[in-house]
């Protein structure tokens, strides 16, 4: 006997194409022109902030930095789709999501200056930035289970890269969330490159969204440079999250470096960039806004000046931060064990904290 026991397929969604044309059938009902202007401003702010952070790093005023150039659409779109009580679970490139969710800019900059004090203010509805790839995904599944168990009504939006989908923790998290019907929306930011390894070398699967099928959960693919499209699919997934998780693959491109420790000219053809420049997430929204008389040069100038000023103020504030080496000892446990206190007392007494190596 032979019979078909399973069928699966993956849809691709795009609401606004690269010329600013809108698919009216898919256009989300809660988006109006004002909201599109807000999306435009937030994406522009993310890009300005990225340029500043990169420049600070090049001047030696920040440690290694992970640029976000080209991915502003998917980050702003997904962040705006979250509800008030929702949480998000970042990897290490989610600074635009933090920004949209109200993270103080100066605190964010402290992370890039190399201080733990820049990770999370108490009460902020996100887990901490996560550097070991995909290890944040089980946290998202567990957090979503906690919200379900405690009946808070909140959902969790988690981010992982295309490279991250090769990790066991990625699949384990989808599997757990699927079995538990945990309210988790997992976003694969497929930006084509995991440092130097292209998407084609991560998986033989035609789409990464289809990894949802193996976990028995919903999966969809979306134009990641279409801020409205991403907003729509994340919003739809969140509306359904109490019934179970969704995996969303956003198709975008890492226009810049993996991090400032990296030189992409070594492994990728610069000609790859041109088609993606035409698909820029900010450009298409500007085309739409200009075409509809909602934006002009004067507004652009006013916005850019305001954003630069806010960024400069945040940088100034972040640079006033004075590290407190004692904090390393005070936040290991909820109490300070005697053996650790002995180390702390010895460090204070020796005075080497007064002559730090270099900064």
């Amino acid at each position: 006997m032979k019979k078909r026991v399973f069928d699966g397929s993956i849809d691709y969604i795009q609401v606004m194409d690269e010329n600013g044309n809108i698919d009216r059938e898919l256009f989300p009902k809660d988006v109006d022109d004002q909201k599109i202007v807000q999306m435009y401003k937030l994406m522009s702010m993310a890009r300005a902030l990225d340029a500043k952070a990169l420049s600070l790093q090049r001047q030696g005023r920040a440690v290694t930095y992970a640029p976000t150039l080209g991915q502003e659409g998917e980050m702003v779109g997904s962040a705006l789709a979250m509800g008030k009580s929702d949480w998000f679970v970042p990897n290490f490139r989610q600074h635009p999501v933090f920004m949209v969710r109200g993270f103080p800019l100066d605190i964010g900059l402290l992370y890039w200056r190399g201080f733990e004090e820049g990770v999370l203010p108490k009460g902020f509805q996100a887990t901490a930035v996560c550097v070991p790839v995909a290890t944040q995904m089980p946290h998202a599944a567990g957090l979503a289970y906690a919200f379900k168990y405690r009946k808070t009504g909140a959902s969790v939006v988690a981010y992982v890269g295309d490279g991250g989908t090769s990790e066991g923790d990625f699949y384990e998290a989808l599997n757990f969330a699927g079995v538990m019907k945990a309210p988790m929306v997992a976003i694969i930011e497929n930006n084509e490159w995991a440092i130097s390894v292209p998407r084609s070398k991560q998986s033989a699967a035609q789409t990464l969204a289809q990894k949802a099928i193996a976990a028995g959960i919903a999966g969809v693919q979306v134009d990641g440079n279409d801020v409205i499209g991403v907003y729509k699919v994340v919003k739809d997934a969140l509306a359904n999250a109490q019934n179970g998780p969704t995996l969303i693959e956003v198709l975008t491109y890492r226009m810049s470096l993996h991090t400032t420790a990296d030189d992409p000219t070594k492994y990728r053809d610069t000609q790859e960039l041109a088609p993606w420049q035409a698909r820029d997430p900010i450009l298409r929204v500007r085309t739409y806004l200009t075409k509809n008389g909602l934006w002009d040069e004067a507004k652009e100038k006013e916005m850019a000046e305001g954003q630069l000023q806010a960024i400069d103020e945040a940088v100034e504030k972040a640079e006033q931060f004075k590290p407190d080496p004692g904090s390393m000892f005070r936040h290991v446990y909820s109490f300070m064990p005697q053996t650790l206190k002995d180390e702390f007392d010895a460090a204070v007494k020796s005075g080497y904290w007064q002559q730090p190596g270099s900064e």
Binding site: H139, A144, A146, D169, Y333, S334, Q338, T339
Partner: protein, 321 residues
């Protein structure tokens, strides 16, 4: 109540689930089966599948989802079925469980317990018998406890459930059913970071824990040596004070553990004694431990684990110095 260690831990989990409505027990086979050692027996029937969770078979996400649950306001008590399998969760334990507090400067705390059966002597297959306490103690940020009797097991588990810290709770399988002990029915705490003076004495100090506690006790009793025996109970944070006080009194220090000798917890303890009490010593510090290689197959384990004879010989050696 008179109970063995399995019963004492089971009772502690029951009391914790009663007391804290956000507490859950989770892991492989912890539900209907009651755990492969029956430590969670009866809890599924009493609290249901939402609180006594049979997870998918994946250790990394057992610990990883527990981290997420702790962030989400719950108190997860996760089980890794065996010490060898727990290594699949090592990334979650070392990268997240241990350092979430420090890297968020306490904005996020992880009140949670990861329980694991450890050590050998019960003729199990490969990867079931490791003694990994040094691995977890070395990271920092984790509390590592290992009881040697039912009373301490229950009291340490309850104490761990009242902390705001991640706890690695190591349960020696050899001691699960070795003996019974009178244990209070209700809640009580055993202090974490405090060694137990099992036997007072003046001739020498033997520092030990877990499976080696009964081995050392028997060896000392048979030799009629007036040894002071310390059962650490907590590996990290180390109760350095009790160790130093005892060593200064007896002038001789011996460390006995089942974990491999090289780079084991005994090295840490010996170093501290050397740093802070070397001039009080009448003999070099002596370590008794398993061989410096991975745990053997069960057919060889009795040649591997330190036994009474090995401890007894070591006592003769250190007393003759």
């Amino acid at each position: 109540m008179l109970t063995n260690m399995v019963g004492a831990i089971n009772n502690a989990l029951d009391l914790i689930l009663q007391e804290n409505k956000n507490a859950v027990v989770m892991g492989e086979d912890v539900g209907k089966d009651g755990g492969v050692f029956r430590v969670t027996d009866g809890l599924f029937a009493k609290y249901g599948g939402e609180r006594v969770i049979d997870t998918p078979l994946a250790e990394s996400s057992i610990v990883g989802t527990a981290v997420g649950m702790a962030i989400g306001g719950m108190f997860p008590i996760a089980e890794c079925q065996f010490a060898g399998f727990q290594l699949l969760a090592f990334s979650q334990i070392a990268n997240h469980m241990a350092r979430y507090r420090s890297r968020t400067r306490s904005a996020i705390e992880l009140p949670m317990i990861v329980r694991t059966p450890v050590s050998g002597g019960v003729r199990t297959l490969e990867h079931h018998s490791d003694s990994p306490e040094a691995l977890y103690a070395h990271i920092g940020g984790l509390i590592v406890v290992e009881p040697s009797n039912p009373y301490d097991a229950k009291g340490l588990m309850i104490k761990a459930s009242h902390l705001r810290d991640p706890v690695i709770f190591l349960e020696p399988t050899k001691l699960y059913r070795l003996f019974k002990q009178e244990v209070p029915d209700g809640m009580y705490e055993v202090e974490i970071g405090k060694a137990n003076v099992v036997r007072e004495g003046d001739d020498l100090t033997i520092i030990t824990w877990g499976t080696m506690v009964p081995v050392v006790k028997n060896a000392v009793e048979k030799k009629k040596t007036n040894a002071e025996i310390l059962d650490l109970r907590t590996i990290n944070p180390l109760d350095e004070q009790t160790i130093l006080d005892s060593v200064k009194k007896t002038g001789r220090a011996m460390i006995v553990h089942e974990a491999p000798l090289s780079f084991g917890p005994g090295a840490e303890i010996a170093a501290r004694i050397a740093e802070k009490a070397i001039f009080e010593l009448d003999a070099p510090v002596l370590r008794v431990a398993s061989g410096s290689f991975p745990y053997p197959f069960p057919g060889y384990e009795n040649y591997y684990i330190p036994n009474e004879a090995k401890v007894s010989e070591a006592i003769d050696t250190i007393l003759s110095e």
